[in-house]
């Protein structure tokens, strides 16, 4: 197997008496598309936030890109890209201004920014929309742009928190093609979703129920193990006794 880029052991997050994430352990390998599946409220987003340095774990250990999640949050931030379920670009800035801003935040030089930005736009076939305000783009375009911008600094790992929420099936497909391309270039993708068909696209899937990881394997093996035809069935078998979520 290739290098481990995320390693988590017994990671736990408590909010008061409520245990959002309970002692989860897993490894993610370089170039993998690692899916995090679960119902709303199962703890996916909380788990991801701990890995991104947005929130401190209550207990347990974990490393991301070789840095400790407890003590080296700032270093982690330089090596990851992030795109959240809510659209996360600035609507009142143009496409190019958004690219410039995020390239600037990650310390890209003027030349690098121009080069990366132009390349990114032509890949998206967005070159003509360079000076369009992001707010006036259709949602699907925004999501694709947001993903490209999340990878503008060529991060080792990209965290995607329900990136395809509210997007039409065609755009979702295109979005997943972009994810595959990034993974083929060696970027590790960590993606949460509650679309079970998207779970099929992942290299490996962790299924979260009530804050715990109840199953972790490739979609094919999971289906075999649970004698199911689809990930949807696997998930429903596991989530049958879930107490949280809807």
């Amino acid at each position: 197997m290739s290098d481990v880029v995320i390693s988590v052991r017994e990671l736990t997050k408590k909010f008061g008496n409520f245990t959002a994430v309970e002692r989860i352990s897993f490894d993610v390998y370089q170039g993998e598309i690692f899916g995090f599946i679960g119902a709303n409220g199962a703890g996916k987003t909380t788990a991801m936030r701990m890995l991104c340095g947005l929130s401190y774990p209550t207990s347990g250990r974990g490393t991301v890109a070789g840095f400790d999640v407890m003590s080296e949050g700032e270093k982690i931030k330089r090596h990851i890209g992030y795109m959240s379920q809510r659209f996360s670009l600035y609507n009142d800035l143009t496409v190019w201004e958004n690219i410039n801003l995020f390239a600037g935040i990650y310390g890209l030089s003027k030349n690098e920014t121009d080069k990366r930005g132009t390349e990114l736009l032509s890949k998206l076939k967005f070159s003509s929309e360079r000076n369009t305000l992001v707010g006036s783009l259709p949602l699907g375009w925004k999501q694709k742009l947001a993903f490209s911008i999340a990878t503008v600094h060529r991060p080792e790992i990209v965290f995607l928190d329900e990136p395809t929420g509210g997007v039409d099936p065609l755009t979702r497909r295109q979005f997943w093609e972009m994810i595959y391309e990034a993974a083929a270039d060696g970027t590790t993708i960590f993606v949460t979703t509650h679309y079970m068909d998207e779970a099929e696209y992942c290299s490996r899937v962790a299924i979260m129920v009530d804050g715990r990881v109840d199953a972790l394997d490739s979609p094919a093996k999971l289906k075999q193990e649970f004698r199911a035809d689809s990930m949807d069935e696997v998930f429903r078998t596991l989530a049958r006794d879930a107490k949280r979520g809807d």
Partner: protein, 364 residues
Amino acid sequence: MKNNFIPFVKKESLHLLRDTRTLLIVIFIPVVLIVLFGFAISTEVNNVNVAVVAPKHTEEINNVVNRLAANEYFTFKGYISQTEIDETLRSGKVNAVVVFDSDFDRLVAQISAGVPSPPAIQLILDAADANTAMAATAYLQGVLLGTASLQEMFETRMLFNAQMKSAYNFVPGILGLIIILVCAIMTSVSIVREKEAGTMEVLLVSPVRPVKIMFAKMIPYFVISCIILGVILVLSRYLLDVPMVSGVGGIIAISLIYIALSLALGLLISTFSKTQIAALLFAGMVMIVPILMLSGIMFPIENLPKFFQWISNVIPTRWYIEAIRKLMIQGVPFIAVWKEFAILTGMGIVFMGISLNSFNDKLE
């Protein structure tokens, strides 16, 4: 990662420039307020309608009435009889009635000679508006005293504002009010807006330090505030003729500190608020009342109950207005407002410190 500050300032400036409507409001409201307060709302006493009750028309009395009628502050509405006084005041036709004693000439002569005697003139005023009535009384007494040699007993000089112009009193107050409101309102929504839009999450996962996010947000608003300050100062000087005796240097210096403080206050509100509406309500509504009441804009601080006087100490606007009055109207050198300057600087640092401290890079 040292260069990621500039793109951030650029971004914040673009947000501000793209929002043309807010930008226009922010610049025009101070202009409107200054013109309104400078011209429309005035505590000066103009056009006081006066009626006179004169049982006899001696030459002495005629002289007094002529002088009254000639005075620009008063409009002489004619003679009425003793029985009409109440009705005339009640109907609102006049604001004041001057009643001459039937023995006016003799009484004046007696008073001038130093012989104790009953009053020679009675003033009856409509005191429904107490301030105007007080001011009118003072003016009337001044004009009427011109007859008697009693005038020599007092020599009164109104320093710093000889013509008693209300603009002199209002401009520092309005300056203090506008700056803190505009700055605090503008910045209070800036952080919470990003929390609502979800962009804050992305900023927090990025390597930008919170302190940079905060300062980058302050810079464009600081520039806008300086423009507003400039507009108000020019209007005050050339439209309202406020003197600015000690030069604009000191005024600008203390205003810049005050602007920075107000911006920090706005950020503080923003870090604590969960929604833009909450931030706006707090900055716009909750703050405005204590600022208006307790900073000396409307009521002199010395007139407040001890408890409120004590509270007024923590209202930055109070110190700013005090300093600006001294600098603009009294024309003291800058060194004389060191205390206000130090207090404002201190408050600014405290606000900034608290907001930086509470705005950390974790989400929960």
